[in-house]
């Protein structure tokens, strides 16, 4: 008699995987990873320390893999939520292409690998920060905050804000006020960014039982809070210039970008309750992505030009 028939195992126990490498890559949340790579690179490249380009590349790669690993752990834990949200229902775990166990193992192995690689080849401060970031995102945010409080992405946003600090720590072996400001920019940017999304996706979050701000405090309160965060974010964006870390070029661009953020948030604040198309919220969501990319790109450009001028003795 066949062994397979004798064991009477559950079908899932004998399920032969049909997951491709692409499915595992999708577990890493490549779009989030691209933002992490960019902000970590800005932190690393803007540091006033020359770092071997190959070691710098490894640092960015390790940070990206670490961020991806925390994404895989998030998808393992959140498969039940993801399955009922239109935005996430096609992810590898809820769609059945990857089993939860596979996602968990993948996330844990990559977490350990990325932290150890960063520690051994770059430095242990950046590795510790990366380990803390993975822990913060997978445990503090995903397992605890996300299903418990509408402040989930306010506190959880710290996980997404750490990459430039890790990049800076990889280059310098230290943490400084400059890297803390880069952290603060992303930290304060996260709530209005996600609440703009939550406004026009509130049905999704309601169905999944995730306590996002519009579902808990109401849309009017969310719109006010978005505006309040925009008012705090705009000056923090200009702070690197205010503290003398950058030239006026960065300062002026950051000021204009911040004014744009406040303007788009103002439009959201003025959005009526009856407006179900939510164009202002969608516009703010789009602008917030542009804002973060632009402010970091200008910061990087500003620092690189200054470093080059200093090297050239100008």
């Amino acid at each position: 008699m066949a062994l397979v028939e004798e064991t009477h195992m559950e079908e899932t126990a004998f399920r032969m995987s049909e997951a491709t490498a692409g499915d595992f890559f999708a577990l890493l949340k490549p779009r989030v990873m691209s933002l992490v790579v960019f902000t970590a690179f800005v932190g690393l490249a803007s540091a006033p320390v020359a770092i071997n380009p190959f070691i710098a590349m490894i640092a960015i790669l390790a940070i990206a893999i670490g961020a991806g690993a925390s994404g895989a752990l998030n998808m393992w834990y959140d498969a039940d939520i993801d399955a009922v949200m239109t935005r996430t229902a096609t992810r590898p775990v809820p769609s059945g292409r990857v089993t939860p166990g596979e996602a968990l193992s993948f996330g844990l192995v990559l977490s350990a690998l990325s932290v150890m690689t960063l520690g051994v080849l770059v430095n242990w401060l950046s590795a510790s920060l990366l380990a803390f970031t993975i822990f913060f995102y997978a445990v503090i945010y995903t397992m605890w905050l996300k299903r418990w409080t509408p402040q989930n992405i306010v506190i959880g946003g710290a996980a997404g804000a750490f990459p430039p600090m890790i990049g800076w720590a990889a280059a310098t072996g230290s943490i400084s006020l400059e890297s803390v400001i880069l952290f603060l920019i992303i930290f304060l940017w996260t709530p209005p960014h996600f609440w703009a999304l939550a406004l026009f996706k509130s049905d999704d979050y309601q169905r999944a039982g995730v306590p996002m701000m519009p579902n808990v405090a109401g849309e009017a309160s969310t719109r006010r809070q978005i505006f309040a965060y925009a008012l705090v974010l705009a000056p923090i964006g200009v702070l690197p210039w205010g503290l003398g870390y950058t030239t006026a070029v960065y300062g002026i661009v950051a000021l204009l970008l911040g004014a744009g953020f406040v303007w788009y948030s103002w439009k959201v604040l003025r959005m009526g309750d009856a407006d179900r198309t939510m164009k202002p919220a969608k516009a703010l969501f789009g602008y917030s992505l542009l804002y973060l990319f632009a402010i970091f790109a200008v910061y990087l450009g500003d620092r690189l030009v200054e470093h080059a001028l200093n090297l050239g003795g100008v």
């Binding site: 004998f14 032969m16 049909e18 997951a19 491709t20 490498a21 692409g22 190959f54 790669l61 690689t117």
Partner: protein
């Protein structure tokens, strides 16, 4: 004692397994290159200059 019967993979499963195997192979090869070059980058060319 009966003959051992193995689980027969479908074409789709075989293709997925081959795809995963190639990805794992490439990742391992990349790791080897990364650690090899990083060792030279960190210690400098002097690491190759050892007394015989």
């Amino acid at each position: 004692m009966g003959e051992i019967e193995y689980v027969a993979l479908t074409e789709r499963q075989k293709k997925a397994r081959r795809n995963r195997s190639i990805a794992i192979g490439l990742a391992l090869a990349a790791l080897v290159v990364i650690f090899y070059v990083a060792t030279i980058a960190k210690f400098g060319p002097a690491i190759l200059n050892r007394p015989m």
